[in-house]
Amino acid sequence: MYAALWRILPGPWWVRVVILLALAAAVLYALFWFVFPWVSTIVDPQDVTVS
């Protein structure tokens, strides 16, 4: 999977590394700001009120 990704990226090795770092940053941003907050509303096992 990652070998295939490396092959389809254009340019010399250092351009590919830069592209990969940008991709990783984009994935982390999506996870931290959108995906994980949404997952957290579903799985979070806590309760702060009395009832």
Partner: protein, 240 residues
């Protein structure tokens, strides 16, 4: 191929744990404080101009000046907020100088506790009102507004800022109860059948942290109301 996929999933799962325990609270906590602070500044700029009834210290005097007389007035009691409707910003100097978390009506997670911060138990007293005002917030995750509730010292200020001014309560004591202990919400906490005899604040959160086994409860009592025109009260000063 499959191996790489599984490793990736494992890394994402570990990232989620790190996000849930630390990273998410840095992000959401900072966002909550920033939103609360901007709301507070917005109220400051739209506040009514000082009136004659607003005391001698209303203009110029620094609120922290110990010689400045404490300005108090009869508290303005707000109407009950709607579910998810923001009505105040809570400041607790013990929780840090930047602590500014919005308070809204209702204590459901989807409407108030997850997206906004501190929830007000419907039907309990409003700030400055006779009886018991009860609020709840997360102690872990979602910016963890009440994370440091167990570190409050007796006498610590808990200040609620509204467009009208600042309501200062002073922390009195902690209690640990079972999740069904609704008596902590009574007009006089834990006193069944007793009519309201004072102005109390009850804060509930989860205990132990990351658990739903018990609840931690912090009780405070009302000290004073400072009208907007009198400037920020000394109870907002940093504590050591």
């Amino acid at each position: 191929m499959l191996g790489e996929l599984l490793i990736t999933l494992g890394v994402v799962a570990l990232l989620f744990v790190a996000w849930q325990l630390w990273i998410g609270d840095w992000i959401i906590g900072a966002e909550n404080d920033a939103v609360g602070k901007s709301l507070s500044q917005q109220w400051a700029t739209t506040a009514p101009t000082p009136t004659a009834s607003a005391s001698p210290s209303a203009s110029g005097a620094a609120p922290a000046d110990p010689t400045t007389p404490v300005v108090t007035a009869d508290p303005v009691v707000m109407a009950q907020p709607g579910n998810g409707q923001v009505f105040a910003v809570m400041h607790i100097p013990r929780f840090g100088p930047n602590y500014a978390v919005r308070m809204a009506g209702g204590v459901t997670r989807p409407k108030t506790l997850d997206p906004i911060g501190i929830g007000h138990y419907p039907g309990t007293a409003m700030p400055g009102d006779t009886g018991n005002m009860a609020v709840a917030a997360h102690r872990t995750t979602f910016g963890k507004p009440f994370n440091l509730i167990g570190t409050l010292h007796v006498g610590d200020a808990i200040v609620m800022e509204t467009p009208q001014g600042w309501y200062t309560y002073r922390f009195r004591t902690l209690e640990y109860v079972k999740p069904d202990a609704v008596e902590v919400l009574l007009p006089v906490p834990q006193q069944v059948g007793v009519a309201a005899d004072g102005k109390y604040l009850t804060m509930t959160s989860c205990s132990p942290m990351y658990s739903k086994a018990e609840r931690i409860v912090a009780y405070s009592s009302f000290e004073s109301f400072t009208p907007r025109a009198a400037g920020a009260p000394a109870s907002l000063d940093p504590v050591s």
